[in-house]
Chain length 151, copies 2
């Protein structure tokens, strides 16, 4: 079995991607912490649930949207529920499952997190690249996604 060697350009881009993404996440998380707000993962889940609307989402649907492991979603939802940010509803046609819906308090929390998170995004990347460059970046990253996005 033959193992590939990556091109030098690939190694360089990989290194940058790893370092930059970690730096950015860390700074965004720090900003939230400084504001007494919960971690980014909370935002991601609240965001998805807010987009899903009144119908809510099944936990397993959340899993691939937010890219978290099943047990992490399970525990994160338990915390969100304990804080009154989401509610779990039994689902009629599947006795195993449940539907998770965002509450008004959850929407408010999402808004508060966004005030800080959005500002971080503006600071960390919005101010550093032009609109064209940001689109170019998004385009390149889209092709690395799984599944890839071919715009």
């Amino acid at each position: 079995m033959m193992k590939k060697s990556p091109a030098p350009e690939a190694v360089k881009a990989w290194g940058r991607l790893m370092r930059v993404s970690r730096q950015l996440v860390e700074k965004a998380e720090d900003a939230l912490k400084a504001g007494g707000l919960p971690p980014l993962a909370w935002y991601d889940v609240l965001h998805e649930l807010a987009e899903a609307g009144e119908g809510g989402l099944r936990p397993f649907e959340l899993i691939d949207r937010v890219l978290l492991a099943q047990y992490n979603v399970s525990r994160l939802l338990a915390r969100l529920e304990a804080d009154g940010l989401v509610e779990k509803l039994p689902v009629s046609d599947d006795g195993r499952g449940q539907t998770v819906r965002i509450t008004p308090a959850g929407r408010e929390m999402r808004r508060r997190i966004w005030a800080v998170y959005g500002a971080s995004i503006a600071d960390l990347i919005g101010d550093k690249l032009s609109a064209k460059e940001l689109e170019a970046l998004a385009g390149l990253l889209g092709r690395l996604r799984d599944p890839p996005i071919t715009e």
Copy 2:
């Protein structure tokens, strides 16, 4: 105090960056795990130490290179030492500190990890973008770094 709102292009690029980087890290880590190899962080440290050569590095120098918290470096080095991959030497002119040097076994481990890690890089990004595109990506990411790289 006025909070900025990010441009839509910035939000889109941010979202892609977050999702793609997590996906890629996860896949690379999975490949290592499947090969019975230690996590990426081990590679990063062994790599820096290998580059540093016989002189080794002080733990605090490692901290900003690998972007890990001080306590994580401390514990990671303890594990690497327990596995015989690095050795800690007292440093003459500073009684608080130590110098960490990679051992032959450490170099060998680095080589083994790279066989898998490098192949992941080739698969995950080398095969998806051209050399020109990879350079463009690295260039854009470099400007997001702290400190930014202006090539």
